[in-house]
Point group: D2
Chain length 164, copies 4
């Protein structure tokens, strides 16, 4: 059993045709799991629907609490990419003993060309087999929370050496 915690991010952004801008409505997770013909025993819980640049400490505390409170020991957290690593750090400190995989998308799922479905398949798979810990799954790869950063210029997540 896996719990998916939804927090928003590019993943779930939609085009609001009356305002002519991007906005959040409901999460696309159920539709994505249907498209992927996913047969995992999954529970989806929407915690918030926000841009990760707007995420405050109180929001992160809520995510940590939800992970701790979850009956499942394996979780996937969908999250905006800009501060994903920051939330991963908060989870490593506050929700030990579980396998928690954060993932997101560079392009909204509602766009035809999104990386969201690929990332979701990847995150759910890593969540099933990795040992307890907090991970970021992006670009087909996984990173432990303390060895990753988002390169803002390329939009790619990359490994960092923390021993230095």
């Amino acid at each position: 059993m896996i719990r998916i915690l939804v927090t928003g991010g590019t993943f779930d952004k939609e085009y609001n045709e009356l305002a002519g801008s991007l906005a959040f409505k409901a999460t696309h997770l159920p539709e994505m799991l249907r498209l992927g013909r996913c047969r995992l025993d999954v529970t989806i819980e929407t915690l918030m629907m926000i841009d990760s640049l707007d995420m405050r400490d109180a929001d992160r505390a809520r995510i940590v609490l939800a992970c701790r409170a979850a009956g499942e020991s394996r979780l996937v957290v969908t999250h905006g990419t800009d501060t994903m690593v920051e939330t991963a750090r908060a989870l490593a400190a506050g929700a030990p003993g579980k396998t928690i995989v954060l993932t997101g998308a560079m392009i909204p799922y509602a766009f035809g060309s999104s990386d969201g479905l690929f990332n979701l398949g990847s995150a759910l798979s890593f969540a099933q087999v990795l040992p307890p810990g907090v991970y970021v799954a992006m670009n087909g790869q996984y990173f432990t929370w303390d060895r990753v950063r988002k390169n803002r210029e390329t939009g790619v997540f990359e490994r960092v050496d923390t021993s230095a």
Copy 2:
């Protein structure tokens, strides 16, 4: 480093607009990896482009040989779903000591509603973390080669108990 062996299957079927039927052209794997913004060190090798119902023993022998000959110890094989389990069995017998993950799709990638991108993200992730063995990755799950079958009526892969 991961090697992806392409054998065809629904994954790569396209609509041939002059003939009005489904057909194979080149594999969509490079495009799919680009869409998924995959940053893994991946080599793609097209072995054949056939429907898995048309796959003969000689074709399976070729797949086994390619897995054995590969320098990589982690491989993903894209394959039609109908005889995927049969090829998994051949690989278990003939290509030991490597992590080999077979995957496919129920809907061609070229269709908007394909499960292919989800499955590819899933297979590449399992291939990175599972111990040596032969696996089928479909529906967000992984199965060892000797404990899975495709349910032809539902189109879903399901676990079978082989101890009976």
Copy 3:
């Protein structure tokens, strides 16, 4: 008011994931009109769901009859491209005095890369402004029924000179 008569064709072909082949289910016309945000007063009537290569004289007679029986003087007929011109000829002989526009698609609408939505927008527009007669609307163009053929090698509809 426009009546849309649905007869099947590539337009409405879907991928049957259990059989692994193309098949007809319900028409995509309502979904397409929704996507196009069409506000025309349109009635959709499904006459048959067949490949136009399988269309017999009795089928064409039914289409002619439906056009004649319609209260609307402007109609769009969705049709497989292979014998679209043949049905246009039958309509010219059997359903005079109305503006009838036949259209179709080279790629099924259910595929991401279909020309169907473009053709539907085109056909509905021509149907509103052309004088009574039978027309084929494909490739952004319109042709009177007796001056068009489908080039089987290129998949393109082209004008023919009938004065010769």
Copy 4:
């Protein structure tokens, strides 16, 4: 022969994945015509790539001038929907004697669910058959420039009676 004048608008908005916002790059018109298998003799000219809310009098003057200068007597102008009617008015005053059809989209073409392809098929068709004048083609319908407004609440173009 038809000339397409590109001015931007929702039609051509893209998702900028590094900035996480909507932006203009190159026009999608060539790709859309290819998808629609359009065989019309069309010339595409990009005048500007802006949101129609940002359009100034000088921009409208440029569009009017381009329509007047065009060798073609039939033109399609892609345009943001918010001030499309305003530009139509300017064209009616400044570029008489030609058939000019303005069109746009409520959802960017780069999104899977865009009405753009439908509208383009529609606008190109109306441009071929309507007499000289300035028209708006949206929602499958056409309106003369002085009898249309965009309903901001519903996002739909509707006929207005100007005789009052």
